[in-house]
């Protein structure tokens, strides 16, 4: 049990620090690399929670595709890469800090009030629940219609991105 605890806190601290790096870094490429740390940490947390298929989808889609897309976006918009000062932030920093801390306080109070003391019980049942085959069965038995709708949405997003970004 304590191994999971130690692994959780290692990954959680790395994710928290890297998340602050994403929003505070003065170099856009560094922000993208911090984002990789956060996403990989999230994949590790999924493994800890016995969700192996989601963890690998996270690695493939997020780290493999989305971050590459971000790096393309950074290069195509010629974002400042050598820490050229304040140009990446606007002047709402303190308001944003207040808003974020307020929402964090509300959420933490709610969670402690609603789920304080509730434990996740790790067992063989949980591990066999998270197997890829059971995820697939749930998708194609219970969530078939949403699955098809999501594929239509992906097609629409693909066509939309091409239409938007194409030079006339």
């Amino acid at each position: 049990m304590w191994e999971q605890q130690v692994a959780f806190w290692l990954f959680a601290v790395a994710m928290g620090g890297a998340a602050i790096g994403v929003v505070r870094s003065r170099n856009v490429v560094h922000a993208a690399l911090f984002l990789v740390v956060v996403l990989a940490g999230a994949a590790a947390q999924y493994i800890l929670l016995a969700a192996e298929f989601v963890a690998w989808v996270q690695v493939l889609i997020y780290i493999g595709a989305v971050v590459i897309l971000f790096l393309f976006g950074v290069m195509l918009t010629r974002a400042p890469m050598r820490g050229e000062g304040e140009t990446l932030d606007n002047d709402q920093r303190w308001g944003a800090i207040v808003a974020a801390l307020f929402i964090l306080g509300v959420l933490v109070a709610l969670f402690v009030d609603a789920f304080g003391g509730k434990k996740i019980h790790f067992s063989n049942a949980l591990v066999s629940l998270g197997r890829t085959s059971s995820v697939g069965q749930d998708i194609f038995r219970v969530f078939v219609v949403p699955f098809e709708i999501v594929s239509m949405l992906l097609l629409a997003a693909l066509v939309g991105a091409v239409v938007l970004a194409r030079k006339d």
């Binding site: 994710m15 928290g16 298929f53 989601v54 997020y62 971000f70 976006g73 918009t77 932030d89 964090l104």
Partner: protein, 99 residues
């Protein structure tokens, strides 16, 4: 393990994302902050999936990942278009609708 540990981690990531969306002016960085928020939601979904021993949370997380990928594609196309029209990726320079 306590359920709250995962929930508070995801709340922290979500609020970092909120700060990023509010305080960044570069369009690509705002999209990265949105990704942080979507990831926080995913951690919540997986944690509740393990807590309730119900696989549907994992399927929801897969859908969220799919939507996030589509959102990044369209969002980056929009930021690219803004850059092409205004010569700048900064979102606070888009004020053509201001009276």
């Amino acid at each position: 393990m306590q359920l709250n540990e995962f929930l508070i981690l995801s709340a922290f990531l979500f609020c970092t994302g909120i700060y990023g969306v509010l305080a960044r002016r570069n369009g690509v960085l705002v999209l990265m902050s949105v990704e942080l928020m979507l990831n926080a939601v995913n951690i919540n979904l997986i944690a509740f999936s393990a807590f309730t021993k119900n696989i549907s949370g994992q399927v929801f997380a897969l859908f969220v990942i799919t939507i996030a990928a589509a959102e990044v594609g369209v969002g980056l196309a929009i930021v690219l278009l803004i850059y092409r029209n205004l010569r700048s990726p900064n979102l606070d320079e888009i004020d053509q609708l201001k009276g």
